[in-house]
Amino acid sequence: MSKNTESLEAMRRKIIQDADAEALRILNQASKRADEVMEAAKQESSYDENVDRSRIKDSHQATDRERVSEAMSEYTSLLSSYKAEIMDSIYQETLRRVKMHVDSDEYLPTLEGLIVEAGIAIGGGEIIVWVNQDDTERASSSLLARASAEVTKVTGKETRLTLSPEHMEAVGGARLVQTESKATVDNTFQGRLKRLREQKQSELENMVFG
């Protein structure tokens, strides 16, 4: 082999070696880049299924707890309305039976008792007595005189009960107004029932609903 040929062959080898080295560098770089891409994807997609399950479940359950709470409130409210309806029917029945009593002969002493009780509550004195149209005849002057004497006796204050020339709407009973102070006691059955409902509500509900 001539010197010239040897030199030429060395140059060729060098060119090929350089190309191989460059090819290797390019492939290494690509491999590194591929590893990076895969690693990033793995990291992005890596998750703990239990943690994710728990997070999703918590989020849905929180919404459902609100819905359950709303449903519970609605049922509680429906039940309250139902109880109120029952109590109203009891009050209506009560007034119906009181009206039967008012229409009976036993009512007169009751009316007198109601007037005396209201007169005492108001403290005696000059008092106007309001009753319904039917009771204007029942509340005779003799009844009012007896009631006045009883109120005077209990309160110690001279009392005169006078029937109002006008009448009012009521099932029965009386409303008394003290002339001087304008103090009023509603002792009609509706007024008494209203007070009873306010004072004994829980007792009545316990009695009816247990």
Partner: protein, 116 residues
């Protein structure tokens, strides 16, 4: 005395240049091949990564659907129980009130008619 160096002929020089040009072409082919393979490696990795991410998205979507169904089922069960409780309680209220209504009315009538 040494022999004087042999001066290559023009033809020889052309041959040598061609020889080197072939080597250069071969080298370029090696590099081109490497670049193509490199591109394929990266592209393959990107494609696998995209598949991985898309599978993950689908997996999470399925998990979400599954959990939502589980929770919804639980919720419907709770609602059904609440309704059942309400119907039972309403029935109890009705029954108890029917038993004690007369007692309450009598108590109220007595209270209304009784004065001091």
């Amino acid at each position: 005395m040494s022999e004087p160096a042999e001066t290559p002929s023009f033809q020889d020089m052309i041959k040598e240049l061609k020889y080197l040009k072939e080597a250069e072409n071969q080298a370029q082919k090696v590099i081109d091949d490497a670049e193509r393979r490199a591109k394929d490696v990266v592209s393959d990795a990107e494609s696998k990564a995209a598949t991985l991410l898309s599978e993950n998205v689908e997996k999470r979507r399925q998990l979400e659907i599954q959990i939502r169904e589980e929770v919804e089922k639980e919720f419907r069960g709770t609602l059904a129980k609440l309704e059942e409780d309400y119907v039972r309680e309403r029935s109890n209220v009705k029954q108890r009130s029917e038993t004690h209504m007369e007692e309450a009315v009598k108590y109220l009538v007595h209270s209304l008619l009784t004065t001091r």
